[in-house]
Assembly symmetry: C2
Homo-oligomer: 451 residues x 2
């Protein structure tokens, strides 16, 4: 429960008695917590394209205005919207029992009667890839690719294809449905949803993720050497085109003609949880940092917040924002979208070309335990605009060890956030954004538009 | 996942190179794991009075016969059976969002349309008790009594009344439904079910448990000072009288005329999980210990296993067994029904009256880290027969720190069992049962029938 985490967190960091704003943020920030505590309580799940997501935008605009942000707006865009229906799974033979499942977005419905078929077991994505064309005709593919925790989140790249493309691949080989082991690192009966993509010309099929304990159980059934059959009832539906939107707000700089610092997060969430770590925390972190920088005095450049819409089901908001603002150069882009645990290292895409700025940032964040890294920043999902401009990017990388325990599950709730680690994020962001928003010259890149 | 626990477990205990049977059980027992791995995989949930519970009995009888037990039988009894229906909850105002809920057994249905009403918040059971008669007319009572972990499981006695009697108390004050904070110590979206009891003359109402994160969220809504309304859809139903049964089996002693050592567990489980820690593990532990004792040579006394039926919804099997065997004296009774974590202390109800036996047991289990305790053993739920006979009881007490994270939830699955701690249980039970089953004289009690 929340109180337990708070109690542990209080022991986790000593409180330094330093005096600048970043240290105040570290020891005392309440803005980020206020944001995420309030949005999870007062709005809850914010599924892309739905009325709940719209309620989130209304709520966020009121919050931004109340907290002194300028030029607060909802920039609408259209999207294709998928919503969950019933979701039930049962092994019907040889060992009849129910299983915990959740549908993946863009998948189709089994219809109200469900479907029942033999299950074919693939321990990994590669095993499915090796299956012969037509070999899954009339069957359910079970892909049990197993993810482990990694601090840098790299387990997602390892296990992710089981969700991203296995249903399409299985459909192309004749499967009537696909069930995957959740792309997640916990062992609770809360399956991990997410989006899957069907290749051009492949008709979508029903597909869902089993919780890890259920996938373990199904593997044990296969280990007994008998034919396994499963019934699935998954009734998601496409709502067609609906309206979502990006919420924006600004700390206006002393020279608004200069390209702004763009801070991004996404405001939507999956429907299963309340969008605390994904990505209420991220929006709270960037908003808190912007406020702390503004409290030091009006910055040279405008700090622009992008609370993107409809990230989860296809980066709709990022695309819409990039299109709407294509002609507006950005000085540098940063996104917070990896939970609320501490920042442990950072990457940029100007490490070699602008070592002075890289070094300045490294020195500023070192006392918060953040190490410089030689990786190349690629920016968060909602920074399409900056990528398309070839602009400067910084990735303040959070500890992802716990992130995929919770990612895209019903367990993404406020109690999972450690307030002390949340404050470390705010402190680091405050330092970095303060440097960037008050910096005059261009960020030197090999090819450096947008400065 | 299972593999992670196995890897950790392998580091947790050094493997002593000792030679007696108990040490073989500690270092090498595979029987208890085989039992619980198999029943959770091949049967799964075993809800009292249902066909799934009957499948569990058929499975268990086959397992006992295959493992050399004698006099294996299913002793049927009749019971009143309650089964779960749909279960959904939504806050409808002021902050509309869904909540994870599960119904408590013996509660009534909201009907297919559900009910919607204002919610009244009671931080603790005592607060509900203090509410005035009639003050809940037309309302939903929310009792948020908060449980914390305790090694000896004592948090259950502290928080349990919120489940056991709050719905009845709320109904008596006019409530149309009750929601409670789960009686559990985790923070996952898997609510804890269980039985509640309506007092004589109080008409049952719908009642369910919210997961702890949802109860936290609901408390935060109340902290905002507005009227909270909730819709509940809970459609359990009573199936009337159905048949359950107790499965028994024996290691026949050299002198079958002597009162047997009775080892109990329960074979049924809640429907939400697969009954791994509650109580597949317990049945596996007692069966493994009995086998290990038999492997040392036929014991003097018969060791009788009672795999009780229908414990969860009202100790039906325990009552039926006590009635059917009332005239058969038992030498001593022990039950394993508190998960699969290590035994850390033991109680008896003959500590003062038979210090020699108490001391013999204490010396035998000390090397497994089990301390003698001065508590008075009261026996497990399925030992009504022994209690009614005033017989000897021993409680081998397991570490309950984690138990109520999982108790009565969907998370009660095999992956939660640490095989090394499971083996410690088997080792301790093997030592204790070996002493008892080969002991000639009576167990001295102040009033000691059944010796």
């Amino acid at each position: 429960m929340k109180k337990q985490i708070v109690a542990l967190a209080a022991l986790a960091f000593a409180v330094p008695a330093l005096a600048n704003t970043a240290d105040e943020a570290l020891t005392g920030d309440i803005i980020a917590w206020d944001f995420v505590e309030s949005i999870t309580t007062e709005v809850g799940p914010r599924m892309p394209g739905t009325e709940q997501e719209a309620r989130g935008r209304t709520w966020a605009m009121a919050w931004l205005k109340r907290n002194g942000f300028a030029n607060v707006a909802d920039e609408p865009f259209e999207m294709e919207t998928w919503v969950r229906g019933q979701e039930l799974a049962w092994v019907t033979a040889p060992f009849a029992q129910p299983m915990a499942i959740t549908a993946l977005s863009t998948t189709s419905s089994t219809g109200p009667e469900g479907i029942e078929a033999e299950v074919v077991y693939f321990p990994s994505f590669a095993d499915l890839r090796d299956a012969e064309a037509g070999s899954l005709a009339g069957k359910i593919a079970f892909v049990s690719h197993d993810m482990r925790p990694a601090q840098d989140g790299s387990g997602y790249g390892f296990a992710g294809p089981a969700r991203w493309t296995a249903p399409s691949l299985a459909a192309s080989k004749g499967a009537v449905a696909t069930v995957i082991r959740s792309v997640g690192t916990d062992n609770h009966r809360v399956p991990h949803t997410g989006t899957t993509t069907f290749a051009e010309g492949v008709e979508p099929i029903p597909a869902g993720a089993l919780s890890n304990p259920d996938a373990d159980n199904l593997e044990r059934m296969f280990a007994r050497g008998q034919t396994v059959r499963m019934k699935l009832l998954l009734t998601p539906r496409d709502l067609g085109t609906t309206t979502s939107g990006n919420v924006v707000g600004e700390i206006t700089g002393r020279d608004p003609s200069l390209p702004p610092v763009l801070l991004a997060c996404h405001l939507d969430s999956w429907d299963l949880g309340t969008g605390a770590i994904d990505d209420g925390a991220g929006c709270g972190i960037i908003a808190a940092a912007a406020k702390h920088v503004a409290a030091q005095g009006r910055p040279l450049r405008t700090i622009r917040l992008l609370f993107a819409g409809a990230e989860e089901t296809g980066l709709w908001g990022s695309a819409a924002y990039a299109k709407a603002h294509a002609d507006e150069p950005v000085y540098v882009g940063l996104e917070s979208d990896f939970g609320a645990d501490r920042i442990w290292k950072f990457d940029t895409n100007f490490t070699a070309s602008d070592p002075a700025l890289f070094g300045q940032i490294a020195r500023a964040v070192a006392r918060f335990g953040v190490a410089p890294s030689r990786g190349v920043a690629s920016g968060g999902a909602d920074l399409n605009l900056v990528r398309e401009q070839g602009g400067a990017l910084i990735d303040l990388r959070q500890d992802g060890t716990r992130y995929f325990d919770l990612h895209h599950t019903a367990d993404d709730t406020l109690d999972k956030i450690d307030p002390v680690q949340l404050r470390q994020n705010v402190a680091v962001w405050t330092e970095v954004v303060g440097i960037l928003a008050n910096r005059e010259g261009p960020i030197l890149r090999s090819a450096a538009p947008g400065n």
